[in-house]
Symmetry: C2
Subunit: 156 residues, 2 copies
């Protein structure tokens, strides 16, 4: 009755993604759940400032770069899925899109009527805390339950 049926797994395609996926599969196993693996390529727009005396900021054309990143990520996603030992009763789909990760993860969760979002969660110090801001935003704004899989030990 309370089993999770629609699970969205947000992966950054780092080395930790295997562990995050394995935990999602563990929760899904035997429930006839569907797992949707999502990677969001974060596009950071670079602003070039022309040399003096002109200070017009200009956005670089990054559309080509974006396409390459998505292609590369799709290949990594395929590798990740190949490496997973899925249960008999779990259906896996995936997608790679571009945008702001937390916004896209929440949008897709809503769209797919997800009942559990699984994401990696970093430790508490410095740069890792910064990276963990996606998990934090998801925790506060998710329309559903959230499983944060610890990818770095706090003692490290």
């Amino acid at each position: 009755m309370n089993a999770y049926k629609q699970i969205l797994v947000a992966v950054d395609l780092s080395g930790d993604s295997q562990r995050v996926c394995r935990q999602a599969l563990e929760v899904a196993n035997g429930n006839g759940a569907s797992i949707f693996l999502l990677h969001v390529v974060e596009i950071i727009y670079q602003v070039s400032v022309a040399s003096e005396p002109m200070f017009y900021p200009a956005f670089e054309d990054i559309s080509q770069n974006e396409e390459e990143l998505i292609k590369l990520s799709k290949a990594k996603m395929a590798d990740l899925i190949r490496g997973l030992q899925t249960g008999e009763n779990v259906r896996i789909e995936s997608d790679v899109i571009s945008g702001i990760p937390k916004a896209e993860i929440l949008r897709i969760a809503e769209e797919k009527q997800t009942d559990l979002i699984v994401c990696g969660s970093h430790g508490r110090s410095g740069f890792e805390l910064l990276l963990g801001s996606t998990a934090n935003a998801i925790l506060h704004h998710a329309p559903c339950d959230v499983l944060a899989v610890r990818t770095k030990k706090n003692t490290e």
Copy 2:
């Protein structure tokens, strides 16, 4: 291999605790997991300020009050456990202690070598966000995975 075996469920003994526990049981079911239900009575020391012209703050003796709160919470915990339909293969223990909830939850998680902490997570607005600070602290400092069970819809 990756199944959660030691699950710590942090409950506030509100009406939402049943739902939080049910999700924990769902994850535990069939894994031979142990569930430890923990409630932390939050002791807020009240400062009484004597009327003018004396401004000495005085801490009230709340030890008796604390004992009563723990007794009341233990009765509520027993009710909660009675109301749960546990799987055949799940062992449930519980405790009620006093202190700062996030600190005590993390301390007990460490002590019991917990591999999953389950807690309720409130919505994002106003007072609910404040209440959610325990879930937030747990997410950032937990030595293990965290399942945040949404107890209020964001749309409410």
